[in-house]
C-alpha cells in the first residue's frame, strides 16, 4: 500500500515527498506518481532541473491577459495584440484549452474571452467566481464597435446555463449573440445519439448546397 508523503519501505523521504506532490496533480494516482518519481530519480540531473525550472517559470511568468483573460507570458496576449484579428467578434470559451482547440481549426479570426470556468449551482460557482464581470466590463467599454459575441461554452448543463446567463445579460445591447452549432459529431451514429442531441440536430438542420 503506497501512502503519499510517507516513505514506503525501501524508499526515501525525498522520494516520498515527490510522490506526494505528483499525486496532487489531476489524473495522477499513487501508482503513477510513484512511477514518475522513480523515473525522475533516474534521469540525468540537467533533465530533472529543466523540468523543475519549466514548472517554476510557468508560475513566475504566466499571467492573465488583461483583455481576454487567457493565460499568457505578456499582456496583451499575441491574439489580442494582433492587428490582423477581427476586433468586432469575441468568442467566449470556458477554458484556455478550448481556445487552443478553436485556434487549431484556423477557421476563426476574431478575439476571445476565457471564463476559466462555468456557472455551477451544484458547486456554488456564481457569476462573480469566474471571469464574467470582466467580460461584461470589456463589452461595455469596447472602443471598437462589436458585431458578434459567439458563445462557445461546452454543450453541458452548466455550459448551457452559462450561455443563457450571458445571453440574458447582453440582450438589448444591439450585439448579435450566437452559439456554436449543436448536433451530431463527425463519425457519430443516429441510433446511439441521445434525445437532446438529436432534437438540436433536427432544429439546426441546414440545406444541402
Amino acid at each position: 500500500m503506497i501512502t503519499p508523503g510517507q516513505p514506503t519501505p525501501g524508499s526515501t523521504r525525498s522520494l516520498g515527498q515527490l510522490v506526494a506532490e505528483l499525486n496532487r496533480l489531476p489524473g495522477v494516482g499513487p501508482k503513477s506518481a510513484q512511477r514518475i518519481a522513480y523515473h525522475i530519480a533516474q534521469i540525468p540531473a540537467e533533465e530533472a532541473r529543466g523540468l523543475a525550472e519549466a514548472i517554476i517559470a510557468v508560475k513566475d511568468v504566466l499571467l492573465f491577459c488583461a483583455e481576454c483573460r487567457n493565460l499568457t507570458d505578456a499582456s496583451p496576449c499575441d491574439i489580442c495584440a494582433n492587428p490582423q484579428r477581427n476586433r468586432d467578434q469575441i468568442c467566449v470559451v470556458e477554458d484556455p484549452r478550448d481556445l487552443v482547440a478553436l485556434e487549431r481549426t484556423r477557421a476563426y479570426r476574431g478575439l476571445y474571452h476565457v471564463l476559466h470556468g462555468v456557472l455551477s449551482p451544484l458547486n456554488g460557482v456564481g457569476p462573480e467566481d469566474i471571469h464574467l464581470p470582466q467580460l461584461f466590463a470589456r463589452l461595455d467599454g469596447a472602443s471598437d464597435p462589436l458585431q458578434e459575441v459567439i458563445i462557445a461554452t461546452n454543450p453541458t448543463l452548466e455550459g448551457d446555463a452559462t450561455a443563457d446567463f450571458i445571453q440574458r445579460r447582453l440582450s438589448g445591447s444591439g450585439v448579435t449573440i450566437t452559439h456554436l452549432a449543436r448536433g451530431l459529431p463527425v463519425g457519430g451514429t443516429l441510433e446511439f445519439a441521445d434525445d437532446t442531441t438529436l432534437t438540436r440536430a433536427l432544429s439546426g438542420r441546414s440545406p444541402l448546397e
Binding site: 489524473g27 449551482p121 451544484l122 456564481g126 448543463l157 457519430g188 441521445d194
Partner: protein, 253 residues
C-alpha cells in the same frame, strides 16, 4: 446466494464528475436500488454511444454490470432529459437544487420509491411553473418527511402541548414548533407567524406538487416559510446548500 452480475434500473442523474481520460462517474437516484454511483466508460468521447446520456437531470433506463469498486454502465437509454427545466439558468438552478438535496438526503443503495416519485413530480412542477417557489417549498417539506426528518407542526416539540394560534415559535435544531413557554437549551428559536405555519401545514397535507392550490402568498410569508425550511434542511444536511447560494446570488442578476 450470489447476486446477479448485471441489473437494470430506471434512474435520474443527480450529478456527474469526470474521471480518467474520457469517463464519467454519475450519481443516480434509481427507483429500484436507491442512490448509486456508476461508471460510464468513454462517455465523454464524441463518438461514444453513451455521449450526452449522463448530464444531470436526465432520466435513463440503464443496464449495469457489477464492478469491484464501481458498477459499470453497459447500456443506457434516455427516457426524458427534462428539456423544459433546462431552458434557462434560473430554472436549471432550481432543478439542480432538487438534485442536490436528493443527493444529500439519500443513502447509497437504499431504495426510496416515494422520494424517486417526488423528485420527478417536482421537476415536472418546475417545468410547468418555472418561477414559482411553492413547488420547491413543497419539495423541501416532503423530502424531510420521506427522509424521516419531518418537523413537528402541530404541537410543541418540547412539552407536547397542542399549539394555540399566534402562540408558537420554530426551532430547526429542536425539530419543529415550540410553545412560548418552552426553550430547549442551545437551540436557535425563530418567530413563526400564523400564516407561515398554515402554509407549512398545507404543504405537509399536499401529497403531490400537482395538488398544490393556486395561492397568492405575500412575499414576507414566503420568505418566512423558506427561511424555516432552509434552516431545517441545513441543520440535517450539516452544510450549506450550494445551489441555494447560487439562486440567492443570481436573484438580482
Amino acid at each position: 446466494m450470489t447476486q446477479p452480475r448485471t441489473y437494470r434500473a430506471v434512474g435520474l442523474t443527480l450529478r456527474k464528475r469526470l474521471a480518467g481520460e474520457a469517463d464519467v462517474i454519475a450519481t443516480m437516484l434509481t427507483r429500484e436500488h436507491g442512490k448509486l454511483d456508476v461508471l460510464a466508460r468513454g462517455a465523454r468521447r464524441l463518438t461514444s454511444k453513451l455521449m450526452g446520456h449522463f448530464e444531470p437531470l436526465t432520466l435513463l433506463r440503464v443496464a449495469v454490470a457489477r464492478g469491484r469498486a464501481l458498477d459499470v454502465i453497459s447500456e443506457a437509454e434516455v427516457i426524458t432529459a427534462f428539456q423544459s427545466v433546462k431552458t434557462g439558468y434560473q430554472t436549471t438552478a432550481r432543478a439542480l437544487y432538487v438534485a442536490e438535496l436528493v443527493d444529500g438526503f439519500s443513502a447509497e443503495s437504499n431504495a426510496n420509491p416515494a422520494l424517486f416519485d417526488l423528485t420527478l413530480q417536482t421537476l415536472n412542477a418546475i417545468a410547468e411553473q418555472p418561477m414559482s417557489d411553492l413547488p420547491l417549498r413543497h419539495f423541501d417539506l416532503r423530502l424531510l418527511d420521506l427522509s424521516g426528518f419531518l418537523p413537528e407542526l402541530y404541537c410543541c416539540i418540547d412539552c407536547g402541548a397542542e399549539l394555540e394560534p399566534e402562540r408558537h415559535r420554530y426551532a430547526a435544531g429542536a425539530g419543529g414548533t415550540l410553545c412560548p413557554d418552552c426553550a430547549p437549551p442551545d437551540t436557535l428559536i425563530r418567530p413563526l407567524s400564523l400564516p407561515a405555519l398554515k402554509v407549512l401545514r398545507l404543504l405537509h397535507r399536499t401529497a403531490q406538487p400537482a395538488g398544490l392550490p393556486s395561492l397568492n402568498i405575500p412575499a414576507a410569508v414566503q420568505n418566512e416559510v423558506h427561511s424555516a425550511l432552509s434552516a431545517t434542511l441545513q441543520y440535517w444536511l450539516d452544510r450549506p446548500v450550494q445551489s441555494q447560494r447560487f439562486l440567492d446570488a443570481t436573484k438580482s442578476a
